[in-house]
């Protein structure tokens, strides 16, 4: 147990600070995100991530948002387990036809007001998979999309920027 505490103390806080003078773009973004969340969402925004057919690349980067370096929860952004708790659906992948009904039901289960973010090139335009017998292509072909975050996959920084642009809308 002592080793655990020693390592924890030695590691310290790795989260990239919001108010450093040499603030990188991410830090500046963080401040802005927090302000918008406070203003329009009473301090917190709940996101339900839905993989509608992705290769899992986007999920890996969405996961990274919760690592101690990005730690998006400090801006009041958190991921929830049910669409019924969500303000925002974060949808990845081209929509596999086998997932079409599931995605529609998830959308219906999300209370209003709600926003949909299409994450990644596949969700934006169908990407490498396009429209076929097995794929509906872009998320917008299935449910209304408010904003699109492109990238294959988008980096965590791009994801934070995307969330901000939603809130500024």
């Amino acid at each position: 147990m002592l080793r655990l505490f020693a390592k924890t103390l030695k590691t310290g806080i790795v989260t990239e600070k919001i108010k450093r003078p040499d603030a990188s773009e991410l830090d500046a973004l963080g401040i802005e995100v927090k302000r918008q969340v406070d203003k329009y969402f009473s301090g917190s925004i709940a996101i339900r991530a839905v993989d509608a057919g992705s290769c899992n690349g986007c999920e890996l980067e969405i996961h990274a948002l919760n690592n101690p370096i990005y730690d998006v929860e400090r801006y009041g952004i958190h991921f929830v387990a049910s669409p019924r708790h969500a303000d925002v659906l974060l949808v990845t992948g081209p929509v596999a036809r086998h997932m079409q009904t599931a995605l529609l039901r998830t959308y219906e289960a999300t209370p209003n007001p709600k926003w949909v973010i299409a994450v990644g090139d596949c969700a934006a335009c169908g990407g490498e998979f396009g429209v076929s017998y097995a794929s509906c292509g872009a998320v917008a072909n299935v449910i209304p999309v408010d904003i699109v975050i492109p990238g294959c996959p988008p980096t965590p920084e791009t994801l934070v920027k995307g969330l901000l642009s939603l809130m500024k809308k």
């Binding site: 996961h63 990274a64 490498e128 998979f129 097995a134």
Partner: protein
């Protein structure tokens, strides 16, 4: 893979002759391919099993009015490719799944995609097909258009007959396709008594994206791009397997430097995924310390991947004939330094895991896969190696650059979640050693061998040890340098089957940790 005259194949050949099973033996790129009559398909499987061969993959292909059906088997030291032909008017052959249960989902996939009937198969339900195409439509037949004839809204698949359990106190827990975390979709049907799992049945193919059909008609470069998106966490391994298969078909040898850089990329992918998973497994039993430490290490690792190779997940770094990225001397110094830092970090963090009794209490004996089940199912990768199966393509059927390196394979015997964690930890250390070997031995030279248009209908079959285990990829060209058939068998095929066994007699709340310890890819499985 020059295994053509090896002992195990001779023994098998004698057995076939004793049973009067005529077979025509050819060699395709150093790999033995035996063609038999469709009627002998099952008898071959029986003999293969008596010779302790592992079932590797099964796939089919339409060539005008013929279906070519393939299966791949393996011994500890090499592969055997089995093939038969069927006329399109009479597309049926005996099922091998009665002998090799792992072949069942593959046969169901072939049934759904081609309409090839496997007689007496143990499970006649559909598998890859839900409701996006009709029962008598077969997407991989040449007359089926890529666009298909989908309805505006594809309905949910409600008529699938799950296995039922009845009795006092037995209840069912349906989970998915959309799960509670940030993970891929699939359906799990649990039968439980109290908290104990009596049975788990998986229903997958929710993320079926038609990858096999999409590959048809692609150029080699575009195929690598697609292969890199079969499973986002295995982008290097799948593109490598596709490249190797195509390079075999075209008769191209890649430059040594390119092989080393591919090896470096692949080992980086292995480390990144293991780091993420070790943390996540611990997190699934509430041990946040490990999650924080390992996700921090993974993030640093990915940032270095981005700064040196230009992509956090290393997508699209491979091209047919070689690689797109080079390493400068400064890059090599930076990567060597990075290895030192990682090793030091792990030396501090891992003892904190090892000596933690509450973590031990949750991971030991949880999610047990016995060595005999692992062998029967022919499981691969760390799941197999945590259950005593000592196999690794990099060492046993080696390829460049691994044939020039000293490969150590981590094996554990206990078969529980803790074993899988330990195998992964050991694999991280082994990969650190491999990376440092490759960085010091990195040969000078070109990055790409110029692509040569392969001969009409040339084929390639390649195996690569991805981070999850053995990937098998088949490629056949048509004329004009275009792909006519592409099939990739992800190790998740076995991972999902193993998972159904692993969770038995565990409690429902331990499903996430069991699942994470295996971490099969839905996308890789569903294609």
């Amino acid at each position: 893979m020059s295994e053509v005259h090896s002992n195990w194949q001779l023994a098998l050949q004698l057995a076939l002759e004793a049973e009067v099973i005529p077979h025509n033996s050819t060699v395709v790129n150093n790999l033995a391919r035996w063609t038999i009559s469709a009627d002998d398909w099952l008898r071959f499987a029986t003999i293969a099993q008596q010779h302790h061969l592992r079932w590797v993959a099964g796939w089919a292909e339409q060539r005008e009015d013929t279906f070519v059906v393939n299966a791949c088997f393996a011994s500890q030291t090499g592969y055997l490719w089995l093939q038969t032909e069927l006329h399109i008017e009479k597309p049926q052959l005996p099922s091998q799944a009665t002998i090799y249960p792992v072949a069942s989902r593959s046969e169901r996939h072939t049934q759904d995609m081609f309409g090839i009937h496997f007689v007496d198969r143990p499970d006649s339900r559909k598998w890859t097909r839900h409701c996006a195409w009709k029962k008598h439509d077969y997407p991989l037949r040449k007359d089926f258009p890529l666009q298909g004839m989908p309805e505006v809204i594809t309905p949910a698949n409600m008529d699938y007959q799950f296995v039922k359990a009845r009795g006092a106190g037995v209840y069912e827990v349906p989970v998915g396709p959309i799960h509670a975390g940030i993970i891929e979709p699939g359906h799990f049907r649990f039968q439980a008594v109290g908290e104990t799992i009596l049975n788990l049945e998986e229903r997958l193919a929710y993320v079926h994206k038609g990858i096999e059909k999409l590959a048809e008609g692609r150029t080699p470069e575009k195929l690598v791009r697609l292969a890199g998106r079969i499973s986002g966490d295995s982008t290097v391994a799948h593109s490598w397997a596709a490249c190797r298969a195509m390079e075999q078909a075209a008769g191209i040898t890649i430059p040594e430097r390119a092989a080393f850089i591919r090896g470096i990329l692949c080992e980086r992918e292995r480390i990144a995924n293991h780091l993420g998973d070790i943390g996540a497994i611990c997190n699934d039993v509430g041990f946040a310390f490990a999650q924080m430490q390992f996700s921090r290490l993974r993030e640093q690792w990915q940032r270095n991947s981005a700064s040196v190779f230009g992509h956090r997940l290393l997508m699209d770094r491979l091209i047919p004939g070689g690689v797109k990225v080079d390493l400068s001397v400064a890059d090599c110094t930076l990567l060597t330094q990075e290895l030192k830092v990682l090793r030091k970090e792990l030396d501090e963090t891992i003892p904190a895991l090892d000596l933690n009794s509450s973590l031990e209490d949750r991971l030991f004996t949880t999610g047990y896969l016995s060595p005999s089940t692992a062998a029967t199912y022919g499981v691969v990768g760390y799941v197999a190696r945590a259950s005593g199966q000592d196999f690794d393509v990099r060492r046993d059927v080696s390829y460049a650059p691994y044939n020039q390196l000293n490969i150590k394979v981590a094996v554990e015997e206990q078969g529980d979640v803790a074993s899988r964690v330990w195998v992964r930890i050991k694999e991280v250390f082994a990969s650190i050693k491999l990376l440092s070997q490759m960085l010091t031995q990195l040969p000078e030279g070109e990055l790409v061998t110029a692509w040569q248009k392969p001969k009409e209908y040339s084929e390639g079959l390649a195996m690569v040890e991805g981070w999850r285990g053995e990937i098998m990829t088949y490629v056949r060209f048509s004329s004009d340098d275009k792909i006519s058939r592409f099939y990739a068998r992800d190790p998740s095929h076995f991972g999902f089957l193993a998972l159904e066994k692993i969770v038995l007699n565990n409690i429902v709340p331990d499903f996430p940790v069991c699942n994470k310890s295996v971490n099969p890819s839905y996308s890789g499985n569903d294609l």
